[in-house]
Subunit: 190 residues, 2 copies
């Protein structure tokens, strides 16, 4: 698939870093895939924004940060305004439904899929932190040709506290079953 | 302090990634400090080695990976053999006592401090995962002039499951109280 870059952005407490680590651990299970996972924090991030990144590549990864994401997740307006303009051609943005996307350049609008991630996490699962598992489910569907769903589930089971495995897998499956426009998971790059 | 690089290496399951994230979260609490935290996985890491890195800098961090660590932690022989030769001048290596360091270049021997991290984790705390909290305690002592111990404790409390906070803080304090040769925490770079 060549280099494939995922950026997860949201507020602190939404579990984006754990989601990034789980994606990285799942990537490690794929033969001959190199994975780099990182988060950067600067003084500007003290408002509570949180960002995690994962890079997959069959070749060695010399630069571990995302250059232009193939897949961008935004859970908050602030995250969307900071990162929403930065996307690879044919890339995909998954944005929570609470985000006002009207100000984005029209050329990117076709790349944005808005889903009820936070609402669903609050209503069906009852804990906002589950938003990250819903996000992982959505991503699992998008990248399933390259990283199998079972690897991502296995990484979830390894990384969450044992007593929370069932709730987390339930949230993951909710995300996986969310209806996405066909384009978002049938695109050819991965 | 300029750029300061920490590399944590061990086996999978020893919690090095969580330790890296906790250090990064503590660094964020320091005014005007930039932090980058990352882990890279390649096909060669499938033997179970685990490595996490944290970079602190008052300036912007353009390259988020460790170039040459100021502080290197090795919990396993494999990790030591892979990373033990790579250290900045005046850097510090914290190596578990189970590691045979006799093959290392003699010029680096003065930089190595061997401590009973894994034994202590097994005996006093009873869970090997606590090794990472002991490591955090040791690091907290070494870098306390730059990142306050209270920030690291706060980050631990935020990042570990609520029911495990007391055990984790206990392990952290065990690590903090381990006797280090004076050189290892009195050096002037930080």
């Amino acid at each position: 698939m060549g280099r494939y870059e995922i950026r997860l952005s949201g507020a602190g407490g939404q579990g984006m870093i754990l989601a990034g680590i789980i994606l990285a651990e799942a990537g490690v299970m794929v033969d001959d895939l190199n994975v780099s996972q990182s988060q950067s924090y600067g003084p500007e991030s003290r408002g509570g924004a949180s960002r995690a990144e994962v890079v997959f590549d069959e070749d060695q990864i010399d630069f571990p940060k995302v250059i232009k994401p193939d897949l961008l997740v935004c859970l908050t307006q602030e995250a969307f305004e900071q990162y929403g303009r930065d996307l690879k051609n044919y890339g995909v943005i998954i944005a929570d439904s609470n985000i006002d996307i009207s100000k984005i350049d029209s050329e990117l609008k076709d790349n944005i899929y808005q889903l009820d991630i936070l609402d669903l996490a609050a209503k069906k699962i009852g804990k906002e932190i589950s938003a990250n598992m819903i996000v992982l489910g959505i991503i699992a569907r998008i990248i399933q040709k390259k990283i199998s769903v079972e690897f991502i589930k296995k990484a979830i089971i390894e990384k969450v506290p044992p007593k929370t495995v069932d709730d987390n897998i339930e949230a993951f499956e909710l995300g996986f079953d969310l209806k996405l426009d066909k384009r978002s998971y049938a695109y050819g790059r991965i």
